[in-house]
């Protein structure tokens, strides 16, 4: 232990401002770096998840549409044949 008391520790032999400024800014920057990196990872995952959801919705809509078309094709033949006859 290099310091006699807590206040001597915070005083840093008169260099308190410079020592704590260095350590403080370094800790702040490194914390921000870790936080943004973790956050970034989550955001990229969410973006991909949202895209997958959108694709699923589009696929469902397309299926429904083609199913409707199939139905209309089944309903229509009589009409078509009528037209052909007339």
């Amino acid at each position: 232990m290099q310091f006699d008391s807590i206040s001597a520790f915070f005083d840093m032999g008169g260099y308190a401002f410079f020592v704590w400024l260095s350590y403080g800014v370094s800790a702040l920057l490194l914390t921000l770096l870790v936080y943004t990196s973790l956050n970034n990872h989550k955001n990229v995952k969410n973006k991909i998840a949202q895209r997958l959801l959108r694709e699923k919705k589009l696929r469902k809509a397309a299926q429904k549409q083609s199913a409707d078309q199939d139905n209309s094709v089944v309903e229509n033949p009589s009409k078509n044949t009528n037209e052909a006859v007339s």
């Binding site: 232990m1 032999g13 008169g14 260099y15 410079f18 370094s26 990872h41 991909i48 998840a49």
Partner: protein, 248 residues
Amino acid sequence: MWKWLHPYANPEVSYHFVGKLLPWISKITILLLAIGMIWALVFAPADYQQGDSFRIFYIHVPTAILSMSIYVAMASAAFCSLVWQFKLADASAAAMAPVGAVITAIALFTGAAWGKPMWGTWWIWDARLTSELVLLFLYLGVIALHNAFEDKNLAGKAAGILSLVGVVNIPIIKYSVEWWNTLHQGATVSKMEAPSMSMDMFLPFIFSFLGIAMLVTFVICIRFRTEILARNGMRPWVRNLITAEGVK
């Protein structure tokens, strides 16, 4: 001889491999950083000339060394990506650039905060300080190029060429204190020789250096995984992974 390495060129294998390492890396980081910082701030002896302002050394020197090491690692990755078109090398280079920029900024800032009480000035345009500032701008340029193109391959190429050209700055930083007259002192800690400082000052340095180095590794690993996901978002394995994890 290098066959065992081949599977790791696969993004999926690399993603999961790094994911398995991460919990260990984070634990070692916390342990080493805690030991290093407490030892540096509380138990390391004060310098006989500089008093307690010398404790800035335990952040300034590790970050200054790492700012250059990360750059060399990034440029090597960029070289592999440009020459052999390793996609993952490009992803790792993109992951390293922001980390290197932050570490360089810390080295510059702590240097200024140490220079003020010891030299009487926050900043001086001398060789060591200026070349380290150029290093920060190189990092910022590489980051900007990585984000400048929608096409990640093209962006990686442009950023890779800039990082390779910038390598010329590394020996200039390293030897600036020998080639020019400068306020900055010469190296205290060197790989090849015994350190020119006492053991009770040097040991806490080893711990703070390894602690910050592990923290850097930790962040690079996270960003590396993010890059892999972002570049492989259309692949089936990423779809399965994301579907399995669900939306948060």
